[in-house]
Amino acid sequence: MIIVDDRLTLEILAGRHVSAVSDDDAVATTWGFHYRLARALAAPVSGGQLSGGVPARQLLDTVLSPRPGGVEVLDPRAITREAVAAAARHGLNLLAAELVGAARHHEATIALSAANVGRSWPAVFEAEGIELRVVTR
């Protein structure tokens, strides 16, 4: 399994190739990144109308409707123990703790867009034995 962030989820929804993800990978995201993406699509700053005349509401509905074969949103309840432990060890916020907890629980690789690599995160992932792939475009 490979866990992607909100930006890479968008790239996948756009039908673009994400270099860190192969066709054989089961692709998932955390609830935190899923929430960020939904929140961004609901943001007033994104306007009511986006490219191609597609209403933002339609994009939000698409993101919120799970599609078989799409990016799976991982249940945060299943990884709470690992997330709490990681937060206690490294002083992580909720987003990072859930990400580390999910990767450890599911023995997954993490793929992040360059803008979403927190300054302290690579060292945390390394300490936790989690592979990180960074996607630059």
């Binding site: 909100d6 930006r7 968008l10 790239e11 929804l13 756009a14 039908g15 673009r16 935190g32 929430y35 960020r36 929140r39 961004a40 699509l41 943001a43 700053v45 994104s46 986006l50 490219s51 191609g52 005349g53 597609v54 339609q58 994009l59 698409t62 599609r67 078989p68 074969g69 002083g91 992580l92 916020n93 909720l94 987003l95 990072a96 867009s113 803008a115 979403n116 690599v117 927190g118 300054r119 302290s120 995160w121």
Partner: protein, 82 residues
């Protein structure tokens, strides 16, 4: 609606056979018709995101880093570098 169809053999469990027969009885139709309805619904869910949506998602993706920074920079739970 007139549909062009091909005959296909599939294996079902006893439980699936019973459930299919029950649904057909209730609906006053055939097991084949029920199965086609289920397949139509299931396959519709897996339909790929259409081109207009993909274009719109691409546009959002291109400006997403700035948007996310604006929205989450001051959110202690959701920004990327606590």
């Amino acid at each position: 609606m007139l549909r062009c169809m091909q005959r296909t053999n599939i294996y079902l469990t006893d439980e699936q056979q019973r459930a299919l027969a029950a649904r057909a009885r209730v609906g006053g139709t055939t097991k084949s018709a029920v199965l086609r309805e289920i397949l139509d619904a299931g396959l519709a869910d897996t339909a790929p995101v259409d081109d207009a949506l993909r274009t719109a998602f691409a546009a959002v993706a291109d400006g997403y880093d700035e948007l996310a920074a604006l929205l989450f920079a001051d959110d202690p739970d959701l920004h990327v570098d606590a």
